[in-house]
Assembly symmetry: C3
Homo-oligomer: 154 residues x 3
């Protein structure tokens, strides 16, 4: 087990297997020293763990936990490409999309759920640049979607 997965196990998190989408896209692509993940929804065992707009049907606190689930799924997508997560040398960039009621302006607090989990998983290498935005709606009415770019060792 990688050090990354050991650190996650200590906080009760497991990196799931990835079920590749049946489509002309895949969970993650490696190009050179970089892995780009697809946008990850808060799926657990193939089902969304919440739906709705944050600030309306979903609270900011619940959405933060959903963002952590998105981040775990992004880590799983990275693992599907490199196998050993300890090859990640840096989480470079995170974009977090929050399906938001137009009155909800707490997107940074929601996406902190993903950012904090990446820090817990990768330590200093998990500290990244980030954008958080509030969108109208996400696939399957998911409240949060997170994509990441990581740099990996050759």
């Amino acid at each position: 087990m990688s050090n990354v997965e050991q650190r996650l196990a200590e906080i009760g998190r497991t990196v799931p297997d990835v079920v590749p989408p049946v489509a002309a896209y895949i969970p993650a692509v490696r190009s050179g020293s970089y892995i780009y993940t697809s946008g990850q929804l808060p799926m657990v065992a193939g089902a969304l763990t919440g739906t709705g707009k944050v600030g309306a049907e979903v609270t900011a606190e619940d959405a933060k936990e959903l963002a952590a689930t998105c981040a775990i799924n992004a880590i799983a997508a990275v693992k599907s490409v490199i196998g050993d997560l300890d090859k990640v040398v840096r989480v470079v960039k995170v974009v977090g999309f929050v399906a938001s009621d137009p009155s909800f302006t707490g997107q940074p607090g929601v996406i902190n759920g993903a950012s904090e989990l990446l820090k817990q998983a990768f330590g200093d290498a998990g500290v990244h640049a980030r954008s958080a935005v509030g969108v109208a709606v996400l696939p399957l009415d998911a409240p949060v979607e997170v994509e990441i770019i990581v740099e990996v060792a050759d």
Copy 2:
């Protein structure tokens, strides 16, 4: 004609010329082995082929075809930088923005229009990581906007 354009011709698609925007940005930039395109709207011969929000004025089926047009325009933007599309070694990343009624949650099906076209054009090299999100509104009231990152041979 590149193999990419021959494959597109077989499915009745033509890569158009690019009219560079009169502004401080351009359709695509090459940096190292990568080309980043600007967000592409479903323009044909300089005019939008549809307007409105998907799930309201625009059906998911029509939006999927508009996403394919966005992808063709992204390919044209790449061609404007490298000339020979057979130099593309991988479509790395696609982001698809769908102007969505807040009740419409089928963004993945819409952006499949772009993903499938990229697969048809580039074969296995066209299989990419992808994010699809539903936004409030897009430039000129376009229903779809697609940007891509491709890796090219040196």
Copy 3:
């Protein structure tokens, strides 16, 4: 002072200091020859210079100036990583998010505020690929958020 900052000074713009967010993310990350910035809001001296949705509470003209402020903050984020802004060899990509009333379709004109400032700061190296989209809402009810990717000299 860098040439970049001299050019900005000539148009009355100053690159501010960066206050790193107290969170598991930072204003910008360098990886290889690239710097990715976090999404930048139109903050001046720690306070937003405007709030609300463009096309409703905020005019397109005011939003364009806010986008320029976002771009200045993105330049500051880059500077926080490399120190000397003259090491920037290319602004590769800009993504501009505009918090938009669903009826407002002038996102490109708003984000021109950022694009034009980057051209003024970096000259031809400031000409980039770009996406502009209209989102439901942004952090702290900011009207505009801008992220950039720049290539830097080794």
